[in-house]
Symmetry: C2
Subunit: 145 residues, 2 copies
């Protein structure tokens, strides 16, 4: 299964505050904070100044019913998921499920990601979440076009 | 402060099991599991098959007094830290501290990393841990030579 690491998701109380702290480590904002109605999070992507390597997604819940609100309340925030980009999310999600990953949420559209990066006119970005036995939360992402 | 993302640390019950699950996502072991006496963890590094991008460090506590044993017992494992490589760890750690990071552990030698990657003959690898207000644990790493 061909994959590329797309980003590392971090749940935070305050996107602006953590973006500033990560600025000290050479990371800068690549997108504006953008809400997503399905995931109920506001997301902001940061990257390294040289444009190389990985991105970090800072996630703030938009309300108390957000899937990450509980994570923030219980754990105070922190590293949340690893996102791998795939070409065919339906096949990739089935592949992981058959190899012992637990399905957390099946593929759905992600308007926030498309708005952040100007994608999705022809086909929307779709995302799914699966978890390993060691509580490693993996997001799959098929980029919009 | 010039930095490069070195790896993402994941705490697990069983390195072999999770390495196999991440193999499904195109990741392969780059090193053998190697214990580190100071951190009290056994670490194994995985990378993407094309050699590009980031590495994942799978961490298993070597005993119940390991700094990650509590994390494993309380949370069941999962994403643990982001490691940034720096040229001067003493200056980098002071820089983060002065900008509001909490010091978790000051720079110490990391024999396990040197053994894993065949480094440290001239100077050992050194690592430190600091935390942001949003519970994002950051490791700084100055590679051995």
């Amino acid at each position: 299964m061909p994959t590329r690491l797309n980003h590392i998701g971090v749940v935070v109380h305050d996107i602006e505050e953590v973006a500033k702290l990560l600025g000290t480590l050479g990371m800068k904002a690549l997108t504006r904070p953008e809400p997503d109605p399905i995931q109920k999070v506001t997301a902001c992507f940061l990257g390294q100044e040289d444009g190389e390597g990985f991105q970090v997604e800072l996630l703030e819940p938009t309300d108390d019913t957000s899937p990450v609100a509980n994570f923030l309340a219980k754990k105070g925030g922190g590293l949340h998921h690893l996102c791998f980009e795939v070409d065919d999310i339906d096949s990739a999600a089935k592949g992981l499920e058959s190899r012992g990953y637990r399905v957390v949420s099946r593929p759905v559209e992600c308007i926030g990601y498309d708005r952040s990066f100007g994608l999705g006119e022809k086909a929307p970005t779709r995302i799914a979440f699966l978890m390993t036995s060691s509580k490693l939360l993996v997001e799959l992402l098929q980029k919009g076009r």
